[in-house]
């Protein structure tokens, strides 16, 4: 069903969580307090790589005010030879990530945790824990981790039969690339690097955990999935899921990173040992040292085309940093880099490289931006060499319905071409650009496209009619980007009542059915499906009640504008019954009105984005600034346009930071030097122009409202679009990000010599 009469869908309604957030009332993870609560703190490794010979906690335990101390031996140990999957995570690695076992694997790796009457005592106790380390040589960058005789992080990791830091590979393949390249008139091959970048959420990880005498655990924390919090805590502590209740707090950003946890299992064992509720809050420094980021990468991409611009072969080899434990998002670059295009021969290979830095976490379209960076820069160069317009080139080579993607799926009706056509027609693409506006200043324009899988998956919703005839909707997804507002619009539309009569809440793990993570651009897509089905069930119940009151057949009742009405003159003549009327009579007519739906949703077709950007370079200072940015994307149906635009703008800004300024800097001992927002340079507001989201609304036929996931695709093209624009401005191709002033300056000076 496609909703056509749209009174609420597509409206910029006031978000249900808005007033609380702007007035400081919203309760984030760190805002929770409990009677008798104590504070937990983590002792972290001061070495990038070291054997832990012994840990002596006795002095810390004796410090007055200390209530509990835990180390890895208080958590479940998983043997390394057998995978323990939970979603895309492996609990073998998660358990070693939240607490070091035999080895400290990065500077900042948790070694022990303490709970004490206040933060100061807890910090003091951490200092009293004696750890006997044997410091080992470390490797941080990919080159250092994969070279011969590199320090090996894990004895159990083998590659081609030998100890290695390559912990995994992934290969996607179609056709025969060698034969493809043989047919090509032009072949370009380049190697690119990107740096790991942090998700940069404003809210540091935090939780409060209570463990009662009868073994019931309650967790208050912010995450991208309370069910993930429950399951992962259960795995890592050995407490059954039925004894754990995870209550989601408001979340101050996650961008993928809060699809895993760090503190909850530690706070749980501390609470269990001490018998007191335990609160833990990371500092920004801890967030930077020990959570996230996404992978840094080293990619070699080779693409072949005919003179007329027909793509014939592509090969991509992607090395991704996993951090200290296996599990980088290989699927991103391997599956996405070439997927906008029909290319008959593709070989795409990914390598998962472990090194002595914090374990990576998901970040917006995990891995896809770094792959697209490589592929879309090579395509730009091919267009330049062949003298073809880069957007026309994309149209000519676009993937189409019925073609098989390199990652295995066969495309349905996809809408890449539509994004390129819209970009071609957009005034931005046609606007003249003065490439030399002032002495010492150059300007350039670049384009790039991007692909993201999108996802469906498990979601649950309950829609209840209150006794006074209003509506309470409960879903199981933390709202990171405005999903409550979208769900309110959908429910108001379907029920035909005023938006303000609907309240949308996020249930905890005990009050709503299982719902998978808020991630993969899935929440609005999936929760709109389960909310629609629940609401339709409720409308069915309302019609039945009216039929019973009127003593006519339920089929003879329609639901219109928030009222039950006889379907036509034959049904009889009755005054309409409103939601309030029916709610008032609910109990005598069969009981409370409400319905739930729990589904594994499908039909989330992929997302495509095409971006145009103008940059300006201060040549002497080598500063690149973004002047104008237009981001075209097929969003299916924008249930709430403001939050769709917000997703697009946010994705682009994060991409700008990745392209121009963000990077991790380590000292010689492997300690992060810029563990804070001052020197980890995310863009500030004045660094970016107003980003123009160009939303195409081509309804997804597999979704009741036509929704398509929108959160991730907009970060995918940005790195390449900006780098291509810088090439247009300076005539130089950059392959290494970020395009920070010292790096651009050095390249310009080298070219001048």
């Amino acid at each position: 069903m496609n909703v056509i009469a749209n009174k609420w869908i597509g409206q910029r309604t006031i978000r249900p969580d808005g007033a609380d957030k702007v007035t400081g009332r919203a309760c984030y993870a760190a805002d929770n307090t409990m009677p008798g609560m104590i504070w937990g703190k983590v002792l972290r490794s001061p070495h990038a790589h070291a054997l832990i010979r012994s840990i002596d906690t006795s002095k810390a335990e004796k410090l007055p005010g200390v209530k509990a101390v835990v180390t890895a031996k208080d958590l479940v140990e998983f043997p390394v030879d057998k995978p323990v999957p939970l979603g895309i995570q492996d609990m073998r690695w998660m358990s070693r990530n939240i607490m070091a076992r035999e080895k400290a694997l990065f500077h900042g790796h948790p070694i022990a945790a303490v709970a004490a009457i206040n933060e100061e005592v807890a910090a003091e106790a951490c200092k009293l824990i004696e750890v006997d380390y044997e410091v080992l040589p470390h490797a941080i960058e990919i080159e250092d981790a994969i070279k011969p005789h590199a320090p090996i992080l894990h004895d159990f990791v083998r590659f081609e039969g030998k100890p290695s830091n390559i912990a995994g590979t992934m290969v996607n393949k179609v056709g025969d690339v060698e034969a493809g390249f043989a047919e090509a008139d032009i072949v370009i091959e380049r190697t690119f690097t990107t740096r790991p970048v942090h998700q940069g959420y404003i809210e540091p990880q935090a939780c409060t955990v209570s463990c009662t005498a009868d073994g019931k655990v309650t967790i208050w924390s912010s995450s991208q999935g309370q069910f993930m919090v429950r399951a992962m805590t259960s795995f890592l502590t050995g407490i059954t899921q039925s004894n754990i209740r995870a209550i989601p707090a408001e979340i101050g950003g996650g961008f993928g990173a809060k699809t895993i946890i760090y503190l909850e299992p530690l706070a749980t064992v501390l609470a269990k040992k001490s018998g007191r509720p335990v609160k833990m809050v990371m500092t920004r420094e801890e967030v930077m040292r020990a959570t996230g980021p996404t992978s840094g990468s080293r990619s070699t991409v080779k693409i072949g085309a005919k003179k007329d611009g027909t793509l014939v072969a592509a090969q991509g080899t992607f090395y991704l940093q996993a951090g200290a434990l296996p599990g980088s998002p290989l699927r991103g670059p391997v599956g996405c880099s070439f997927s906008p295009y029909y290319i008959p021969n593709i070989l795409s290979t990914g390598y998962d490289v472990v090194s002595n830095r914090s374990k990576v976490a998901a970040y917006r379209a995990p891995g896809a931006p770094l792959g697209a960076f490589a592929a879309e820069c090579v395509i730009d160069e091919i267009c330049e060499k062949l003298g073809l317009d880069p957007l026309e080139f994309r149209l000519k080579n676009s993937s189409k319905e019925g073609q098989k993607a390199v990652y295995g799926a066969t495309f349905g009706k996809i809408t890449f071409e539509e994004t390129v056509e819209a970009a071609l027609k957009h005034p931005h693409y046609k606007a003249p650009l003065d490439k030399n506006p002032r002495p010492g200043v150059k300007r350039g324009r670049g384009v790039a496209s991007g692909f993201w899988f999108n996802a469906g998956g498990e979601s649950s919703a309950q829609v209840n009619i209150t006794e006074d005839g209003n509506v309470a909707v409960t879903t199981g997804h933390p709202d990171v980007g405005g999903s409550r507002a979208s769900i309110a619009n959908v429910t108001a539309e379907l029920l035909g009542i005023d938006h303000s009569r609907i309240s949308v809440l996020i249930g905890d793990t005990a009050s709503i059915g299982f719902s998978n993570l808020t991630g993969g651009s899935r929440v609005t897509f999936a929760s709109a499906i389960v909310v629609t089905q629940s609401t339709e069930k409720v409308i069915g119940q309302l019609k039945e009640r009216a039929a019973r009151i009127w003593k006519i057949d339920p089929d003879a009742v329609t639901w219109e504008n928030g009222e039950a009405r006889p379907a036509g003159p034959n049904a009889g003549k009755f005054p309409p019954l409103s939601l309030e009327d029916l709610a008032a009579k609910a109990n005598e007519m069969g009981g409370p009105i409400g319905a739930g739906t729990q589904l594994n949703t499908t039909g989330a077709d992929p997302g495509f984005a095409t971006h145009i950007v103008d940059v300006e370079v201060d040549v002497d200072l080598a500063i690149v600034r973004v002047l104008r940015y237009s981001a075209v994307q097929d969003v299916g149906r924008a249930l709430h346009p403001s939050y769709v635009e917000g997703q697009i703008q946010g994705g682009v800004v994060q991409g700008i930071g990745w392209a121009l300024s963000e990077e991790y800097l380590f000292d010689k001992q492997g300690k992060l030097e810029n563990a804070g927002f001052l020197d980890y340079r995310m863009p500030v507001c004045s660094d970016v122009p107003m980003i123009e989201p160009v939303m195409l609304e081509i309804p997804n036929p597999k979704h009741p409202q036509g929704v398509r996931g929108v959160g991730e695709a907009p970060i995918v093209p940005v790195l390449a679009a900006i780098t291509n624009a810088v090439h247009d401005a300076l005539g130089k191709r950059f392959c290494d990000l970020p395009l920070s002033p010292p790096r651009v300056s050095a390249a310009l000076d080298a070219a001048a010599e």
Binding site: L678, V684, S686, P741, P742
Partner: protein, 289 residues
């Protein structure tokens, strides 16, 4: 876990008395935008904090009969910006001061704190050096004056003696035909620390530079007065050759480090670029056509 005491001194004597008595365990608090950050991050844990914002002399801005100015060490950036006379006379010092942090930080941050915190990248300091500002210092043994460029001793260290407080700054009279300016290079547009900061103060007569001072920050352990750059400018009409020579002098003065904020090569190059840009702005303010 030591307690921290707080004293809001009403007079300079009270502040100095308490400061000297605490023998190293005390810290002066002006705006606190460095001090409190350092305390929260665990770098510092003073036993006594002496707030100097209630001391009149330290929060006053006083025009002098000769055209010069007295500016108290604890005057905040926001208050300085509201003083029309100072803003008209020393636009370069003011723009450097107002670059510190954000609106919120401006309500607190002082130039005295900026100087005494002794960061080589402190924004107001190159402009103060270029202006020829003189620091008034008072301690248990009396008052002394010191040119601003001689106050920092190295990153985080000053030449203030135990018990000495920086009371304020004397700005010389600014002759007709003078102008000053400050530029810094930061990778972002705001909320960043200078990779290089450069202040120029010059006087023009008949299209020729008759006096010049150049202050250069973030390229050495302390902010530098670059006398060779000033020499290259004096006597010139700020032609390309003079600017090139002054830029070369700035590059030669650099003794930077490679760090998270910039490379040696980049910092050195930028020092030259900023000299040219800043000198032209100062000249324009001095009335150059």
């Amino acid at each position: 876990m030591t307690e921290t005491r707080y004293l809001a001194a009403q007079t300079l004597d009270e502040a100095i008395g308490a400061y000297a008595a605490a023998a190293g365990a005390a810290r002066i608090l002006a705006g606190g935008t460095d001090l409190l950050v350092q305390m929260r991050s665990g770098v510092l844990r003073p036993g006594l904090i002496i707030d100097v914002k209630k001391i009149e002399e330290m929060t006053a801005i006083v025009p002098k009969a000769d055209g010069g100015y007295w500016v108290g060490a604890a005057v905040s950036g926001a208050v300085l910006a509201e003083h029309k006379g100072f803003a008209a006379t020393w636009p370069g010092v003011l723009e450097a001061t107002n670059l510190i942090g954000s609106k919120q930080v401006q309500g607190r941050a002082s130039i005295g704190g900026n100087l005494c915190n002794a960061s080589p990248a402190a924004d107001s300091v190159p402009a103060l050096v270029a202006a020829g500002a003189v620091a008034s210092i008072q301690g248990p043994h009396g008052r002394r004056e010191l040119a601003v460029e001689h106050l920092p001793a190295g990153p985080g260290r000053t030449h203030l003696k135990p018990g000495e407080v920086l009371v304020g700054f004397t700005f010389p009279a600014h002759p007709k035909g003078s102008g000053d300016a400050y530029l810094r290079m930061i990778p972002r547009t705001e909320m960043d620390i200078a990779v290089v900061g450069l202040g120029v103060n010059l006087t023009l007569a008949g299209g020729k530079v008759t006096a010049a001072r150049v202050g250069l920050g973030a390229v050495a352990p302390t902010v530098l007065l670059v006398e060779d750059a000033a020499k290259a400018l004096i006597g010139s009409s700020l032609d390309e050759r003079a600017l090139d020579a002054a830029a070369a002098a700035c590059r030669a003065a650099c003794k930077p480090i490679n760090d998270k904020r910039g490379t040696i090569e980049y910092r050195t190059k930028v020092a030259g670029v900023l000299l040219k840009r800043t000198a032209l702005i100062a000249a324009e303010r001095a009335g150059r056509k």
